[in-house]
Symmetry: C2
Subunit: 233 residues, 2 copies
């Protein structure tokens, strides 16, 4: 069945934002303008804009218009926050690719139960470290079922972002996630990667991201050193 008008407009505007045709701070065409342009009722346009606003793609201001806002609303993407003594300081954050994307079979005893289709497809996996002020504070291993992501390994990540890469190049949108959090002691492998003493307490996070494609999930295993910074979401 064909998608509803409001869904088509929603998808259209969203993709334009993601690709960058509308940039952060830009004013979207007004509701009446969109209504006239696409020959649909204003209430239908409003419905599409409402969904964009709910997901944080735009911010609507009465009397003014709809403003594009890249900052997705509370999808709980990990971010860091300076702790106690360093509050207010400025950070330089950087991400390093430790192990570039490669197609391979899933690890044995994966941390989430995989469907048979996922199991068969194998996975694309890579490993990144995030550094704040030269300190490695986060180790992230990402796992994507090798489906819907043709040629993923052939190019570097779009803007250095996995989510943007999936959205722009593969039409896969991250909608939400579930996560399991534990506190663990660093083992030698991780201690070496994060340059810390063994037995340092770390936050370990298993994540399963839900996408706009039914039954297509993206997985991450994350280790965080929270001595100097906390994890916020």
């Amino acid at each position: 069945m064909e998608p509803a008008h409001y869904q088509k407009l929603y998808a259209l505007l969203k993709s334009q934002i993601q690709v960058g045709n509308y940039k952060e701070g830009d004013l979207l065409p007004s509701e009446n303008h969109l209504s006239a342009t696409y020959k649909i009722a204003r209430m239908t346009v409003r419905r599409a804009l409402q969904e964009l606003a709910d997901e944080g793609y735009i911010r609507k201001i009465k009397g003014k218009g709809s403003i594009v806002s890249t900052a997705r609303k509370s999808l709980g993407i990990l971010s860091f926050k300076g702790f106690s003594e360093v509050v207010g300081a400025e950070y330089e954050a950087r991400t390093e690719m430790l192990r570039p994307p490669r197609a391979q079979p899933w690890p044995e005893r994966f941390f989430y139960q995989l469907t048979e289709a996922e199991q068969r497809a194998g996975c694309v996996t890579f490993e990144r470290v995030r550094l704040v002020d030269q300190d490695p504070v986060l180790l992230e291993c990402s796992y994507l079922p090798n489906l819907h992501i043709k040629d993923f390994c052939k190019n570097p990540l779009f803007n250095g972002s996995l989510f943007k890469t999936l959205a722009v190049r593969h039409c896969v949108d991250i909608l939400s996630f579930e996560q399991d959090i534990r506190a663990v002691l660093a083992d030698e492998t991780i201690a070496e990667r994060l340059k810390l003493k063994a037995m340092t307490p770390l936050v370990q996070i298993y994540r399963r991201y839900h996408t706009s494609i039914p039954d297509y999930f993206v997985y991450s295993l994350i280790y965080c050193n929270t001595e100097k910074y906390t994890i916020s979401n």
Copy 2:
């Protein structure tokens, strides 16, 4: 200014659900029925129901109706999940009040920056332990600014739930929260409360809950033993 019709209907239905006039699984009156009862257009009713659905109070089913669903949608309330060997087992969860609610000044060096109004009002604080299968796994210290919560300390929590107490008795709704997560080693005090060895890694969570009252926040400091269970949200 008077709230909009859809907001009034939204608030009315929400409170009826919270109080229990509509129970989980119940069918709400149909949109046309509500429209006729309250003499407002069906589209306006739909708007109210849409908000309830967005927040997970109801689940709408085409051709059937709106079903009340107590389980709030992903507000990220902490829940536990059995880990590896215990997946599938059944748990008996219990909460114990270690230190009952009491009004007192705020602790020195509180983990979130307080406004002057909050500082002046002082706080109501209490401490609870959550046990799973007799094991204490979570220690939660809650702090509420002593405003809008008259006689909070005089009665036990409604249904044992802080959020339900605030909603039903004080008309304060929890809308969202921000949190800071760290991994720490248990000190002696906490080790004793959670009956574990010192130096066990714990997940420490600072939370600030946003409520339906502007500038009114509820705070929690949480310690979790994640040896056997993980934290999900």
